[in-house]
């Protein structure tokens, strides 16, 4: 079946503008994650959604970052008043729930450049 998809693939914006990044998880996957990959760095966790439970927002770097997941499927990550340090690749992953740790499957990411 289809994998995790993300849009746009690339986004260039001006400092101070708002941006929205979209993630379509694998059908049937109830867990969804957002990670950020800064240049030359590993991935850092941003936020986690699981079904109808309250999301785990512990990784969001500031209150300019927010995310929602509508209908338990598509998720949108919003960055308000973008700053140059927000430039990074934003990766989404989804996971089926099982008895133990199930593998997270990643999308191709959105490369964000803030000028």
């Amino acid at each position: 079946g289809a994998g995790v998809s993300q849009s746009p693939s690339n986004k260039v914006t001006e400092k101070g503008k708002d941006v929205e990044l979209r993630c379509d998880p694998i059908s049937g996957h109830t867990a969804l994650y957002w990670y950020r990959q800064s240049l030359g760095q590993g991935l850092e966790f941003l936020i986690y959604f699981q079904g109808n439970s309250a999301p785990d927002k512990s990784g969001l770097p500031s209150d300019r970052f927010s995310a929602e997941r509508t209908g338990g499927s598509v998720s949108t990550l919003t960055i308000q008043r973008t700053q140059q340090e927000d430039s990074a690749v934003y990766l989404c992953a989804s996971r089926a729930l099982g008895g133990r740790q199930e593998t997270q499957y990643f999308g191709p990411g959105t490369r964000l450049l803030v000028l």
Partner: protein, 115 residues
Amino acid sequence: AQTVTQSQPEMSVQEAETVTLSCTYDTSESDYYLFWYKQPPSRQMILVIRQEAYKQQNATENRFSVNFQKAAKSFSLKISDSQLGDAAMYFCAYGTMEYGNKLVFGAGTILRVKS
């Protein structure tokens, strides 16, 4: 908090040879998962291999195998018979069993394969 360290920013291997990528981690948990992900220039994160901490036997997937030393908190990846398609960034990741099963990533190792 858990941390993952990849001490080799870059490695090179001759085609058909064997290479080992290093990873160490720090945790106070006794139950967890470890992963190696591959990220080619396309940015798509691809799962290479996973290891369950409660299993003593090292995981293997075709040409890929791990050396899991739980007491030493070491998790190295061995790639045998290296192929040009193995060239990529490799990330070691720790999977917590806490709520959300978040992944903690190392900074990555760039693997170059010479023909």
